[in-house]
Amino acid sequence: MSDIVLQIENLTKTYHLGKQPVKALTDLSLQVNKGEFIAIMGPSGSGKTTLLNVIGCIDKPTSGRVHLDGIEVANTPENKLYKIRQDKMGFIFQSFNLLPYLNARENVELPMESKVASKTERKKRASELLSIVGLSGRENHRPQRLSQGEQQRVAIARALANEPAIILADEPTGNLDSQNKREIIKLLANLNLTRGTTIIMVTHDSQVANHTERMLLLKNGKIVMEKEGLHVAKKQSRCPYCDASIKVGDENCSTCEKALFETDELFVK
């Protein structure tokens, strides 16, 4: 089994706004290994969401190849894509997108519905996943009775439901306050660390991006820069301020005491 979970070659996506063709992605190539935690950054209109949609089998590329866990999705017909989304993808959205009339557990069960026949099995797994994201005991709460951070945790549990090859997160912290933002990014980093879940996250928040392994900067539909992130949860790293070594899980540098989460700078290794 290859370590490469996603292989994108010469991907181009052209939209038509009226008669005007708009190139959202131009000749983009990217390789993602299993277990990577990647941040895609860039100004609005740079093509980050389009890229995420193509990877997530929500949009079809105009040209190029997208190899996802051994499947060539660029050639898969529209009416088969839902199956790939169901089997290989987990989505996390900026506004959580929970179904308001279902409780936390039912929301997590949703993707399993056509995959796991047994209702009790679904329930059991949903409860497990909710406890992984730290929501044990809140299974029966409806979204409006959960905080925003908690709602996003439910959404993360839902994304994990079918043990996807890749979790795609579109601005997962965009709607959260700094406290919740920190907790969600820690949760994602932890899942990546402990479960080896591949995560591709679109964000324009450098604080968040800093905690991934790899940061891609998109501009005009192309990857213009690639940097290594700190990923404090996963690896021992060095403080970007004083170059002292940071232990796994540290939120502040133990030497210069600067908060590693509070900066808007992108750290360049």
């Binding site: 997108n97 179904l99 308001p100």
Partner: protein, 481 residues
């Protein structure tokens, strides 16, 4: 299953909207139930009317065939009956000198005759000038006479009223009832139609009975008496043995008793007002009439011809009534079909628009479902199920509404057959042919059909919105407002 669970939850999410849709749908459905229910009731009414009229026509036909061999013999009365039978006077075609001794000019307005028609107008001081019973023997001995029924008919009324007519003034009573005494012999009762045949309650008079009376429905109402009750007629008590439904106008006020009783209570011992002569066959009527006129020139002889005319007239009215009822039923059916089409269209549109709105409102949610791996089919099924559930609930509510509002709704929506036949029958058959109006009611088949119809409408109205939902792109989930 998750789909059903979600459909229920989705419906209960927007309670007011769901309630409004259910109300609108259930009203439509109750209309859809009420129309066929009303139609069925109209059908039943028409069928009942048809049966009733058919049997009346049969009865009438029998009466006609019997009437052909009947002759009524009366002494011309001073006042008896006006207007109806001017031509029926025995003297109409006879040479002068045939006027009865009591005649004072008004006799040309007709002998009373105990006929079917004159009874209604017999509101005069006396039903006729009594003739001596010995006349009976003379006529009974005429050749070709099968039998003779001696009849005493006396009108009883209360209020006096003065009537001016053709330059003359008459003191007139409003008739309350007409006493008709007929000989209660088994031969007359069984073989000749001296008694009414249409018994609706109790029984008919029997041979040799006395002290008993058979009332018409009108009499029953007038005396406020039913079968088994005692009624006082001219201060003599009689037991009501039965109530009959008159088959003609003229019978409406007539109560039947034995001839002897009638003679006794009216102080007319040995007197009769008319003889009903039954000839051996209709062919011998003319001969018998001739003989009676020769033998007793002073009496009025009426053949069955007038009766026949009247009966034929009635029969034609029955036919018209039947035709008009059937035509009215046909037009009611056409109206019903149109209304059902309108209601079906309206109901489908309600479901369509509400579901379209719901789909629009839930675009993001549907996008999310598709992003996390729901197939188009599942999304579509979800919406169809929702529409189906909504219409099923509405269907049940509709049945409940219809179960008590169906008569009102159908009478509002459908031209009633009963009203049209009521008019026709009232004019023609004197109410005797008025069938009981069938009431609008629901049956199991109708309820099942309505629920089935509701579900079909639910599916029809949801099909397009559900298809629209299935076509929503999963990228809609990414949209952030």
């Amino acid at each position: 299953m998750g789909l059903v669970n979600r459909a229920v939850k989705n419906i209960s999410r927007r309670k007011i909207r769901a309630a409004l849709v259910i109300i609108a749908l259930s009203i439509s459905l109750s209309i859809m139930i009420s129309i066929p229910a009303g139609l069925m009731a109209n059908q039943e009414t028409t069928n009942a009317l048809t049966n009733n009229l058919s049997s009346t026509i049969t009865d009438t036909s029998e009466s006609i065939s019997q009437a052909l061999s009947q002759i009524d013999v009366t002494l011309s009365s001073r006042f008896a009956g006006f207007g109806f039978r001017q031509e029926s006077s025995s003297s109409a075609g006879s040479p002068s000198g045939q006027m009865p001794p009591t005649g004072q000019g008004s006799d040309r307005y007709g002998g009373f005759g105990g006929g079917d028609i004159a009874g209604q107008f017999g509101g005069m001081s006396q039903a006729g000038t009594p003739m001596n019973a010995s006349l009976y023997a003379d006529i009974n001995s005429i050749k070709n006479v099968a039998t003779v029924a001696a009849v005493l008919e006396v009108s009883e009324g209360s209020k006096n009223q003065t009537l001016s007519m053709m330059g003359q003034s008459f003191s007139m009573q409003i008739t309350d009832y007409i006493i008709k005494g007929v000989p209660l012999t088994s031969e007359l009762i069984n073989s000749y139609n001296v008694l009414p045949s249409n018994i609706v309650k109790g029984r008919n008079l029997q041979s040799g009975e006395t002290g008993v009376v058979l009332l018409s429905q009108n009499n029953s109402a007038f005396f406020n008496a039913g079968v088994g009750d005692i009624v006082s007629i001219l201060n003599v008590d009689f037991t009501v043995v039965g109530i009959y439904e008159p088959t003609s106008f003229s019978d409406n006020l007539v109560l039947y008793m034995s001839l002897l009783d009638a003679q006794t209570i009216t102080d007319n011992t040995d007197y009769i007002t008319s003889l009903r002569v039954f000839t051996t066959s209709s062919n011998t009527v003319d001969l018998v009439v001739e003989d009676i006129r020769t033998l007793h020139p002073e009496v009025t002889v009426t053949t069955g011809q007038e009766r026949l005319n009247q009966l034929e007239f009635m029969q034609s009215r029955y036919d018209e009534t039947l035709e008009s009822a059937q035509a009215s039923l046909a037009s009611t059916q056409a109206t019903a079909i149109q209304e059902i089409i309108v209601v079906v269209a309206a109901t489908s549109l309600i479901v369509l628009f509400v579901m379209l709105y719901t789909v629009r409102e839930r675009t993001k949610e549907i996008g999310t479902l598709k992003a996390i791996g729901f197939s188009n089919r599942t999304v579509m099924a979800q919406f169809i199920l929702e529409g189906l559930l909504l219409s099923l609930i509405a269907g049940i509510v509709g049945v409940v509404i219809a179960s008590f509002a169906a008569p009102t709704l159908s009478s509002l929506l459908l031209p009633s057959v009963s009203s049209s036949f009521g008019l026709a029958a009232g004019g023609g058959a004197g109410g005797s042919a008025v069938a009981a109006v069938s009431t609008v009611s629901l049956n199991v088949e109708l309820v099942v059909a309505a629920l089935g119809g509701a579900m079909v409408l639910g599916i029809l109205g949801t099909l397009y919105p559900a298809w629209r939902a299935a076509k929503i792109r999963p990228a809609e989930a990414m949209r952030y407002e």
